[in-house]
Assembly symmetry: C2
Homo-oligomer: 414 residues x 2
């Protein structure tokens, strides 16, 4: 099917979805969840084919694990849809209704965005997750998943669509682009006429490619070169606990800590303890010259280390002479995701909160909390690292827009 046809169908269906009540949408999610469980066999068969091909193509074990589905993971996808059904629907709420001096009543109503495009890597669980969030907010969604997961995605989408049919909802609420040609993906990114927003989910390369090529408004998600700054007055035990947690609790995630900045006045006392703690998980510490002078076992950091998102048992470490130097360093190298200060000093905590440019700025807590569930949104479509529309963990509200509704009685402008 041609992309413009997919776009046209999505746009048309968006008009239908806009009129659905929350009860009908929740029924669609429940039917889709049921269809997933019932279709598990077919999904697993398709996933086997993807895995076989990926292995032949030499895919790494870590990526194979992301691609792999099993009964439990399919159940997880179905449960995810039911959890989204249980969430409050933000659509339809009128945020403010004001009476103007001329008698006009002007209100701001929350509405679906319309058609959402999502480009992601070979992770078939994203297929169901993304559908659930977009559908709950009344949006039609067009998915373009990684080519290595094509058969799995086709099978998952077929199940979800079967569920939609059962609930009397047009299948085009969810469409999958099955053409793996790169030219098609590029064309998709220029489908302004039909697609209201494009959300890339994946690594830095994917996101950069979308930002570079898309003429559709993009919400950037993801990459996190997160820092923790250990201030002069930090409680060492707290700092060690938070750093250990932020670095090692889960290494492959965007809110993991990748870089440390330590105030020079405590470096000599703190660094050996830090090494001892991170040695528990064999974390490699790449320090600047001064750090390596204190702990000779540190690896010498190069300039590339400061901006690098390792997603691994590696962390970089810089010593700063002042909080000013720390803030400047972090604002230069961070990816606007999550940054933390460990301090007992009131003024420094305030300065860090105000001056660090990031979606989430922490005092005395782990960067690992930047997450829709931890923030109390119940679910997230990703973590926005840009400044327009949504910043930080994006819950259902980030998938909506507003429009002004105006009630008059014949008013004209003087």
């Amino acid at each position: 099917m041609k992309l413009t046809e997919i776009g046209m169908k999505a746009k048309e269906t968006a008009g239908f979805l806009n009129k659905l009540g929350v009860r009908e949408k929740n029924r669609g999610l429940e039917m889709a969840a049921r269809a997933l469980t019932e279709g598990a066999e077919a999904i697993l068969l398709a996933n086997q084919a993807d895995l076989l091909r990926a292995r032949e193509n030499g895919m790494s074990e870590a990526l194979l694990d992301r691609l792999k589905l099993n009964e439990e993971r399919i159940k997880g996808m179905a449960d995810g849809l039911r959890e989204v059904a249980a969430l409050n629907d933000p659509v339809g709420e009128v945020l403010e209704m004001k009476l103007r001096p001329n008698g006009l009543q002007i209100g701001k109503k929350r509405i679906p965005l319309g058609v959402i495009g999502i480009i992601y890597e070979a992770r078939p669980n994203v297929t169901a997750d993304a559908f659930g969030l977009c559908f709950k907010t009344g949006n039609a969604v067009i998915l373009k998943g990684g080519s290595d997961a094509l058969e799995s995605n086709k099978a998952v989408v077929a199940c979800l669509q079967k569920g939609l049919i059962g609930a009397g909802i047009p299948v085009d609420a969810l469409q999958l682009i099955t053409d793996n040609d790169r030219a098609v993906t590029k064309e998709f990114m220029r489908l302004n006429q039909y697609v209201d927003v494009l959300i890339p989910r994946g690594g830095a390369g994917l996101i950069r490619a979308v930002v570079e090529n898309s003429t559709i408004p993009v919400i950037e998600t993801g990459t996190g070169n997160c820092h923790i700054y250990v201030d002069e007055t930090a409680d060492f035990q707290m700092a060690l606990d938070i750093i250990f947690n932020a670095k090692t609790q889960r290494i492959g995630v965007c809110n993991a800590c990748e870089s440390l900045v330590v105030h020079q006045s405590i470096a000599e006392a703190f660094l050996p303890e830090l090494k001892k703690r991170l040695d528990q998980k064999q974390v490699e510490i790449r320090g600047d010259e001064r750090a390596c002078a204190i702990v000779p076992e540190f690896v010498h950091a190069t300039d590339e280390d400061w901006g690098y998102e390792y997603l691994d048992y590696i962390i970089s470490l810089k010593i700063a002479d002042s909080i000013d130097e720390a803030i400047t360093h972090i604002n230069h190298y961070n990816t606007r995701h999550s940054e933390a200060i460990i301090t007992k000093d009131y003024e420094n905590s305030m300065r860090f909160l105000n001056e660090i440019d990031a979606a989430a700025v922490y005092v005395n807590a782990s960067t690992r909390f930047t997450d829709g569930n931890e923030f109390g949104f119940g679910a997230e479509i990703g973590v926005s690292t840009q400044k327009l529309h949504a910043r930080g963990p994006m819950g259902l509200e980030a998938l909506t827009s507003t429009k002004y509704i105006i009630f008059g009685k014949g008013q004209i402008r003087e």
Copy 2:
């Protein structure tokens, strides 16, 4: 000066502006306003040079009028800055502060966007307006105005910068790109590293060019192919008053009405009255076949008319068999700006409000109200016709972002 240098300076200054209090910002606006009035002579001289050149190049009278400055218009620019100073500053407000079960306090703080780029046509008053709104919200701004207004813009910027210096604020809070090479403008649109958002202000062509070429997030403003639908039960007098107002009160603006849809059951009675009313201002009515059969003096509309923004004493007119046909027609041809229904019917008013896809949807009022002042925002940077970040008239808040601030006491993620 190289663009990257301009970008770097803007980014650096944005960090400074982020720390300013509202009192210091208002002082900057006051000093800038004063410097404008004091520099009026130099500005007028520069403007004379622009006007002379533009006339030689054959610029139309309408565009010359937009380019032209005089004492009064300069005073208007200065007054505009003072009005912005009087507005409430949205920056710094913490929107919600919630206590999570683990004791984390998470709040959403309103902050400046950072660096704003504005590309606009040969209208030197936009130079001061855009600066005022961006500066009040703590943003550094980079302006690229139409080449025909270059000398005027240089003079205006010189005055504003003089005001900033007087207030002890870095002049790079406001920078003007003076290189008129198209390649420079294109490069500007790809200055992601330094510019947080790009706002084009001008006609459809300019906006399309920015959307096509920019890798910086764009806020689309402007084009308005606004409709009024006259429903079966409409009060004729109200419909005539609103249409006359929306079409003729000011023809060159984006919220002027460009197209009518009339229910077939009232067409025979309504159309002759409509003609009589619009004849008062010699408005040309371009009707579909059925409309022309009722009033033979109407001009026959072609397919191009339905999507055209005339900005002139011309209006198109289509007859619809039902509200469904009217809604479908409007959603197909509108530019998501402002649309109105004239009706006495409750259900139709609700359907129109819900189903029309536009930034502002009216019942029984003129589309001319879509405006920051009329909506009570005090000032506007433009009318957003896209769905991300801001929709409809954009006041100061549209020039801000948010960040999450999190207060902890050593929390780590389990």
